[in-house]
Symmetry: C2
Subunit: 396 residues, 2 copies
């Protein structure tokens, strides 16, 4: 066995982000992922800029290692083909608005009727039930409703969304956990089941100490910029060419930091003796540290603070991240060769298995690239039949 999900076949009806991110991870872990796309354009994100030779970089980065079969699910023949495919797979994943699969006549009860072993995973903004389940959801809307935006930002007047689509991504990751859990249950019971993951639920589940703090103290957590609420100095400081993060979490690190910054006199200063003192006089202390850190570059401070074992680091922009020696040493940036777009760098697999490592299987598929191959292999359909269905608009 080479991959953790070897032998698992996934029918992937997902589009855009949360769903494709989930099935990308399943592919990276060794599952065979067959992406079912509508023949007229496919996954919406195939049209998202920026493009390389007409191919979307966004689409290519999160659909690597999948096969593409173009089937028109609104056509009765298309539905029939999907039901036949469902009989042969282990998992189906979709991230439509709840009710869409039912309208297509392809809801979970129908699919589990033809394959009781099927694991049906649905990822959506608000989930399959609950008063908001019918509402449209975008990452911004969910970051706002889920509390994350209310605790991120420079101050109370500026709640700020996370720069990546974190609600989508968290839903994608939790969907993978749901599928893996359901696969384990099925291995034991022989029965598939439905897995319902909502972006909003995922945000609530990851609010972390914000919920614990609120329910116990009644204080509503607010955006706190880059400052730690209860440890100082533990924040972002300014350098001559950018910023440096410093986390001096105890008195010993505080003393070391003062020594590196050439502000030894602060260690004995009664305003900054203990962590509570430093929190109480934080604006003053922050200004004093910034005055020092602004005199030299980020690279300088990171070098000398690391030598002194004070936890620190730069704020890397994306260009720095993708060329960082540690990131590269851990294969977290991988090159793919796409038949049309050429070479493309994408993030690697963030789980390092010692015996069954994950692997990026290959580039993203062209729309319908594997229609003939998959329908031939799974449903024994011949080339002529497939061509006829393409003429009828059932396949692409």
């Amino acid at each position: 066995m080479n991959r953790p999900l070897e032998g698992v076949t996934v029918l992937d009806l997902t589009r855009v982000l949360a769903g494709p991110f989930a099935t990308m991870m399943l592919s990276d872990l060794g599952a065979r992922v067959i992406k079912v796309e509508n023949p007229s354009g496919g996954d919406d994100s195939r049209a998202f800029a920026p493009m390389v030779n007409g191919e979307s970089a966004y689409f290519m980065s999160i659909n690597r290692g999948k096969e593409s079969v173009a089937i028109n699910l609104k056509h009765p023949e298309g539905k029939k083909l999907l039901l036949e495919l469902v009989k042969k797979v282990d998992v189906l994943v979709e991230n439509f608005k709840p009710g869409t699969m039912e309208k297509l006549g392809l809801g979970y009860p129908v699919l589990s009727g033809v394959n009781p072993r099927l694991i049906y995973a649905a990822s959506s903004g608000f989930g399959q039930y609950g008063p908001y389940s019918h509402l449209p959801a975008y990452d911004l809307i969910i970051q706002g409703m889920g509390g994350l935006q209310s605790i991120t930002g420079p101050d109370e007047e500026h709640p700020t969304k996370v720069g990546s689509s974190m609600a989508d991504i968290l839903a994608g990751i939790f969907t993978v956990i749901g599928i893996l859990g359901a696969l384990r249950a099925r291995d034991i019971t022989g029965q598939g089941q439905m897995v319902d993951v909502a972006m909003l639920d995922c945000l609530v589940a990851t609010l972390e100490n914000a919920i614990a703090r609120y329910v116990v103290t009644g204080n509503v957590p607010k955006p706190a910029g880059n400052d730690h609420p209860s440890i100082a100095p533990f924040a972002t400081f300014e350098s001559s060419d950018g910023f440096v993060n410093i986390a001096a979490g105890n008195d010993a690190l505080w003393a070391k930091l003062c020594s590196v910054l050439g502000m030894e006199e602060f260690v004995q200063d009664p305003r900054f003796l203990t962590n509570s003192d430093r929190i109480r006089n934080w604006p003053e202390l922050k200004a004093a540290i910034n005055e020092r850190t602004r005199t030299r570059s980020t690279a300088h401070w990171v070098e000398v603070l690391r030598e002194a074992n004070v936890p620190c680091g730069p704020i890397n922009t994306v260009d720095k991240v993708v060329s960082d020696p540690h990131v590269l040493a851990r294969d977290m940036i991988v090159s793919l060769v796409h038949p049309v777009a050429g070479e493309l760098k994408v993030p690697g697999v963030p789980i390092k298995f010692s015996k069954t490592p994950g692997e990026i299987k290959g580039p993203a598929p062209l729309l319908g690239e594997h229609t003939g191959k998959v329908l031939g292999e799974f449903l024994s359909m011949g080339e002529e039949e497939i061509q006829e269905l393409k003429r009828q608009g059932v396949l692409g």
Copy 2:
């Protein structure tokens, strides 16, 4: 079978956040999680404020449903006991700085020697190998180095960390995926393995289109506040009592929005005809929309925009999140009763399985609450022997 991870036993050496978050999820999914803590104080986060009757709300919220066994791993007898326990479990999870388990004489090669079926999962800031693996890591440092801070914030001058400890949480979640993948591999091969998850890798893997955009265009992504880079209006606006997020992703929604806001004349305005026009004249348009939205409350706008099917939502603070009817309808806030702290509300399980639902098994354990029970059950140790080891400082 009632839970996906029924029958799986986890030895949990984790502390603080990333590791405990992972083992909390394993417990919620049905695994039996035995937390091994040092008898002198246990998990550091037991001391994190705020406290309820001397018990940390933070600790209680992410250690629910676990058992606690207090063993001094620096004592030769403690090491022996751990090795005996390792023989009886499926999974061991730790989030020490790399090298710590080796120094204790409990590295993976030793543990897999006594139990080749063991899955050993290690979660750390930089991972078990690579040039930075020895560096100290905190969430802030990793958010900075992993690029997330560089794309979050109101503008380029103010890169901002995410308000929750997202690097820790992502590492915890990916660790769960690693364990589930390794369990599946073990079910087939009979062999355990090591799973290495680094917070930094997890951030790189979730940078999403920031990497695709940069590698293709060479443009370095910057913090963009709450504005969408390529769709307008798709942003946070001001209301009379706060904010409202509005995502009018196409021309039809734009027209509906104008109608709800009473600014119908904008629809035919050549400055705002198409999405490209609206992006080009965004500062002007944003100001005009804010002028309208500031006249009424968030609740008003959410109500009328939802009626018009324009995607929208409030920025909920944590008090609003924990009392939201949808959040409650999906059991995403659950009450636990702790023997010392009393009732505590914690986030629920964000994966809804139709047949083997997750479940919060119970409150967090007191330090060493299950020492006698677990050592009796797993190692057939008697009460007298346990008391003697407690006297010697081996157990707590």
